[in-house]
Symmetry: C2
DNA sequence: ATAAAATTTAACCAAATGGTTAAATCATAT
DNA sequence: ATATGATTTAACCATTTGGTTAAATTTTAT
């Protein structure tokens, strides 16, 4: 059920609290979350919260760091895989859309809280032992372009395109549904379909482009 | 300076307040914003806030609706323009990236607050006299595909791709900078460059695609 | 000039909230 | 069994926060 086993030393109560905190914080954000609400959700007393995690800040920092690591590492794993570019893009998009839809709370949470408190990221990065190698992917793009297998493109821009198309539809769901006037159900179906077509959309752009005037 | 002249009946003090509220709310969100802080920012007394706008909720609703209308209408205007698809996509992407970068606060604000309170959107849509015609664009895609000028593609998915690639890099800036390890300055330059290349990236995918096995 | 209305202010208030404390309960080792 | 340490609880506390009130000041109409 919980995916918080990372906190190895945590006992049952601690896990209950972390689970509840993750839920409440990611829905309401730091400011909107209430310690009492977290306590209720975890079915323990509010004082127990402070007994285990001292303060709201400390608890939040734990959750935030955990969540950040989670996207960071997932993306890292995928991007470092050693396979042909075409397969990698297919794998990347399918895998990442899958990952995000299973963890819908993650992206808006990280995005909002990081934007609200940019300094936090320095701390999180420092204290996380994550080492992210985007060079692998970047070099692969450059090589394929030089070999003439794909068109010339700034690898960072390509990376941004891929991530944008996979991720954005999730946090933007309420906004897009509102603007496009489509139902939740149809939106969900579209996201399923999306998993299959994004890779092709990208590859079509990369391979054999028409030269424009 | 201010873009809030929409509130036609507003006097000087009201505009000062609205400006301050927009700033504070969009930075800190509803929960994070303090009435006192808004009052300070507007250089008036806290009680004056309530004198003019009754409650935090009422003030927030005004700001939120204004912001929502702003993206909604800007996108609407662009999408309804009557021009060839290729030009339209070029115009759309350049214009929208420009618009977003001039109003960086807008997207994260709307996204977060809409996600936190999805019911709000019903109210906002109802009370806004916006009428958004995405059909225009949708039909254009269908027609071009049928005519064989572009490949077959679900117009909604294409729309989503375009918006995602234009918009996402802005709210995700802190996250992407962190993950990719690039500086704010380089990021800014990339976003400038982006304005020029996105349309081509999309058109390359749409026109003359390689048939894949 | 002055009465009336609109605006602004300082001083308050009640509720909510993060956090503490000290006593009670439970688990564990001897 | 019981002493020791860990866990849980109810009752509090200080501060913050949205909101109010009534008086003071400024603006406007006559």
């Amino acid at each position: 059920m919980t995916d918080l086993q990372i906190f190895e030393t945590a006992g049952e109560t601690e896990l209950k609290i972390l689970d509840a905190a993750k839920k409440i914080f990611s829905i309401k954000g730091y400011d909107g979350a209430r310690m009492q609400e977290i306590a209720n959700e975890a079915k323990i007393n509010k004082a127990a919260l402070h007994y285990y995690f001292r303060s709201k800040d400390k608890l939040f920092e734990l959750i935030f760091k955990f969540c950040f690591k989670k996207i960071y590492n997932n993306l890292g794993e995928i991007i470092e895989k050693d396979m042909p570019l075409k397969d990698k893009i297919k794998f990347m998009t399918e895998n990442y859309i899958d990952f995000i839809s299973k963890n819908q709370y993650l992206i808006p949470f990280i995005m909002t809280e990081l934007a609200k408190n940019p300094d936090r990221f320095v701390k999180v990065i420092k204290e996380s032992d994550v080492k992210f190698k985007s060079e692998n992917f970047i070099n692969q793009i450059k090589k394929e372009a030089k070999a003439g297998n794909i068109k010339e493109i700034d690898p960072f821009q390509l990376f941004m395109n891929i991530i944008s198309m996979c991720v954005f539809p999730f946090p933007a769901k309420p906004m897009l549904c509102a603007i496009l006037g489509i139902s939740e159900l149809k939106y969900k179906k579209m996201m399923e379909e999306r998993k299959k077509i994004i890779a092709d959309f990208i590859m079509d752009s990369l391979i054999n482009p028409v030269h424009r005037e």
